[in-house]
Amino acid sequence: MRKLMLLITAMLLAVIPATAAMAQSSEGQVIVVHGVPDLDVDVYVNGELTLEGFQYGDVAGPLPLPAGSYEVEIYAAGADPDADDPALSGSADLEAGAAVTIAAHLQEGGEPTLGVFVENNATIEAGNARVTARHLADFGPVDILANDSAVFSGVTNGQGGDADVPADTYNIKITAAGDPATSAFEADLDLAEGTNSIAYAIGSVEGGSFQVVTAALTGLAGAPTGVPTGTAGLAADSAWLGVVLMGLAVIAFSGGAMALAKANR
């Protein structure tokens, strides 16, 4: 009876983490970015008003949402979704455990569009930070520099990339590709350990609305691989004691065997 109880308890304990993990993995995370200047909007997700009076430069999220397919419609603020046409619309697939950016932004040339980007939310090695850069601005190809060395080169509108670097504060510059003199943006960014810091370049350089907005995917940190806390062997127990005992065992055993052999002669 007691054994049965233990067995049931053990089975229950085994089930609990599994369900927790499943509940966790049926969701994804969504970041919404407004990168179209001079346009206040309402954002509808699957026909439901989700963000009201969303303004240029606003960022919402990351927000946890059940995995699935989402229809995203963006209306001028205060518009009637039953009567008016959306300014932008599109769909986004959110996979379980994934992180996605949905961005209303300008293409090169100034035409607005709705972009969907999957963000890298894989575990980051302990001590490192991840930086993601996305070019969503009305501007030609750019280089992105961290502490004056190029991290991403020749990034065009709609493109982006991510890199893992030691967690620290970095001087980040965005310049026209191949032309370090034309700095469009410069700031010191804190790249926190275990976090994917995402920078979105939005707006129009020519129109003077160019800016960089950020979002952060946290909780991605991995664990250190070990803790090296001794080199002298002063506290060692098993090794020397084991060797000594084994040595004594050999001596006693052979001594005993010899004595036996002598007795039987």
Partner: protein
């Protein structure tokens, strides 16, 4: 002089064999001791630390009702404050001094990160200081706050955690912070793990109930590489809520 019994060599031989076998068993047991290390509530503590990530604990209310039929209207999403590009002020209090009366420890604590060359936790270069894993929680915050110190160092002798393995459940650990405050923890469990089997995910967990985790080296020592084969781990809980169920997740 009395002549020895003719049975004496036989008895001596049997005794020798028995002693040999006994010592052999003892030495094997000594070698394998570190593989069966649990004492106290180790499994309970580690299980409490290896469940959901913060993103699934701190969830917005809008996601808890996926069937909106009876549910109140879903609140609108909030626009993020900021966006801030500069480093935020770290609001945490930082641990500065560790006191463990039971084993005579009174040591300074300094923040340490990761050794890039090895991927292991960076530890003090001396035997007198204690390293706090600065990327994890501070003592008393949700998750496992790690304080690591040497058991010994070549050329420097015994370390501040030389007697860590002597701690017993109920022993008190006091941590002082940079803001003058202090927190008391009570030892719950200790364990010795072969380094290859170290449960790093639980030991460095950043979610779950607050656990203070003290780490040093121990077990067998390989003098050819100056390395212990095991880590000695002591888990302690905040003294005030010692009775708390470790399975309970504190959401912030």
């Amino acid at each position: 002089m009395k002549r020895p019994s003719p049975h004496a060599p036989l008895l001596l031989g049997l005794l020798g064999l028995a002693l040999g076998i006994g010592l052999a068993i003892a030495s094997v047991a000594e070698f394998t001791k570190t593989e069966n290390p649990t004492l106290g509530d180790v499994e309970r503590v580690e299980q409490s630390l290896s469940t959901p990530s913060p993103s699934s604990i701190v969830r917005s209310p809008s996601t808890t009702n996926s069937e909106p039929v009876e549910a109140p209207p879903r609140p609108l999403w909030q626009v993020n404050e900021g966006p801030s590009l500069e480093a935020p002020e770290d609001p945490r209090r930082t641990p500065t001094v560790l006191n463990i009366e039971a084993i005579g420890v009174a040591a300074e604590i300094r923040p340490h990160g990761v050794d890039r060359a090895t991927g292991q936790m960076d530890v003090p270069d001396n035997v007198v200081e204690v390293g706090w894993y600065e990327y994890g929680p501070a003592p008393g915050e949700p998750g496992s706050a790690v304080l690591a110190a040497h058991v010994d160092l070549m050329g420097q002798g015994r370390g501040v955690f030389f007697d860590l393995h002597r701690l017993e459940p109920g022993d008190l650990i006091v941590v002082q912070f940079d803001d003058g405050s202090e927190a008391t923890f009570s030892v719950q469990a200790k364990a010795t793990y072969l380094k290859a089997d170290l449960p790093t995910e639980a030991i460095f967990s950043r979610s779950g109930p607050p656990v203070l985790t003290l780490v040093t080296c121990g077990g067998g020592f390989d003098s050819s590489i100056s390395r212990y084969d095991s880590n000695v781990i002591v888990y302690a809980w905040p003294q005030a809520d010692r009775q708390r169920d470790p399975g309970e997740v504190r959401s912030t």
